[in-house]
Symmetry: D2
Subunit: 152 residues, 4 copies
């Protein structure tokens, strides 16, 4: 598999349209769906960097979540357009950190924020170093900081 | 793995308590949950025959669903005790047929009925013969017919 | 709510990208996910007719599935682009029939086919007539038949 | 609805048997399933206190999750018996805090730990005070502290 030399984009936004099956009888999206969306956000951030997660797995590189934190601020509702911003905010040899911001498209309200930590394992589930090319370039690090600052 | 010589029980009933996450905003269990329950019914019918499905997989024997039919009669609701009767009603070298009846415990009302056909594949997803010991014994076949008749 | 006078499109195709969370340890999409995709297909077929299902619910018009049939032919895999064709093939005062065809984009292989029957209920879950505007126009019926014929 | 005067039990353990549909192609339970199990843990802790969550909802008392934290230590696997300890470790007029410990039954290994914060809302999704009877009794508080201490 031909992976890029470096990942250059540290954040990416995807559109999400909550499915009927994702709601619960409280008439909002069930809170267990957010980790699924966050995972989609990570997949598409990778793809924006020209890497398909399935190609990583084919190369014996698996990522597993070791920590997850979610703040639920406002409910997400069926068929209401959302945007999920996923940001990679730290990569070491051992772990990758992401943050997430879920926003309602119509009015920009933040519905949820979250963060996660991933570790890297091989096909036998042994912990392994995160591939060099997935370490953030200095440019991506800079961008990541700048975006963070400009939002404060 | 030590599998039994024959499967002797052709039907089995399990208790199901619908989870909050399984409901949708229509305030009933989402219809995509029933196939999950049916699969649990098959797993426990196997276990009642002293076979763990995970041991089959460990032995390179995988079952995949090729056909599924569900009649939804009445809604299932959150935290309302249900009973699922799973019956194996036919095994050939190529496929296994099951039927399902989902009942509300409180009043015996039938909420859903269904049927499925499974095929057997190996670890490379190639179709293979269903193991001999999973063919129904004449006794199980008889039982299966008798139960069916007595219900008519 | 302003609903159209008639639904004019009887079929619609959506793109589906299987999520990681939708796979199971057999390394394919779990069979319980297909009903979720079919539901998305119905929602988008409605939207192609300028009707949002959530507006129907807001108007006290709910649809529930009473029958579901799925033929699973080939496995769907993580992150492999699919197309789902949903066709409305019959509407009476009491029920709506749909058929589904799930195809792999890369080679056009049919992965699954299915059908479902919906009934219409009100906010108290009482069966009600399907709104007149959802009955297929003669044009849509004709189109539906023509497409069916041309595929044979 | 007749609710008890006080909740007297601050912790409760339930058995969990991971379903096939809960696994992913990494051959372990998908991380989005844990919040579903935690919710089951809360439901059964309530029931151990003679309260059914559905009766709370029927009385116009709804709980929504506002914060969730999970540490994933070791993977949970299909059909491998687990135990989930749910502990209520704090109730104020505005929020309820729970902690969770998921253990593998066979060897007592801790697979995951977590915590959550719930808020209370009414049928119109307005924040409301948590009912008095759900405040922990001094006995339960004491027990809660003792259990916590004895584990250190």
């Amino acid at each position: 598999m031909n992976f890029p030399k470096r990942l250059t984009k540290s954040s990416h936004t995807i559109a999400i349209l909550p499915r009927y099956a994702e709601t619960d009888q409280g008439k909002v999206v069930h809170h267990s769906v957010y980790p699924v969306w966050f995972e989609m956000g990570r997949t598409e951030l990778l793809r924006a960097n020209n890497v398909a997660y399935k190609d990583l797995e084919a190369a014996g590189i698996f990522f597993v979540i070791t920590e997850l934190h979610i703040n639920y601020r406002r409910p997400a509702r069926y068929d209401e357009e959302l945007q999920l911003l996923t940001r990679c905010c730290g990569v070491t040899a051992a772990k990758i950190e992401h943050t997430y911001k879920l926003t309602r498209l119509s009015d920009g309200q933040v519905l949820a924020e979250g963060s996660s930590i991933l570790a890297c394992i091989d096909a036998d589930r042994k912990v392994r170093r995160i591939p060099k090319f997935m370490q953030m370039s200095s440019q991506a690090k800079l961008e990541s900081q700048e975006t963070t600052n400009s939002e404060q």
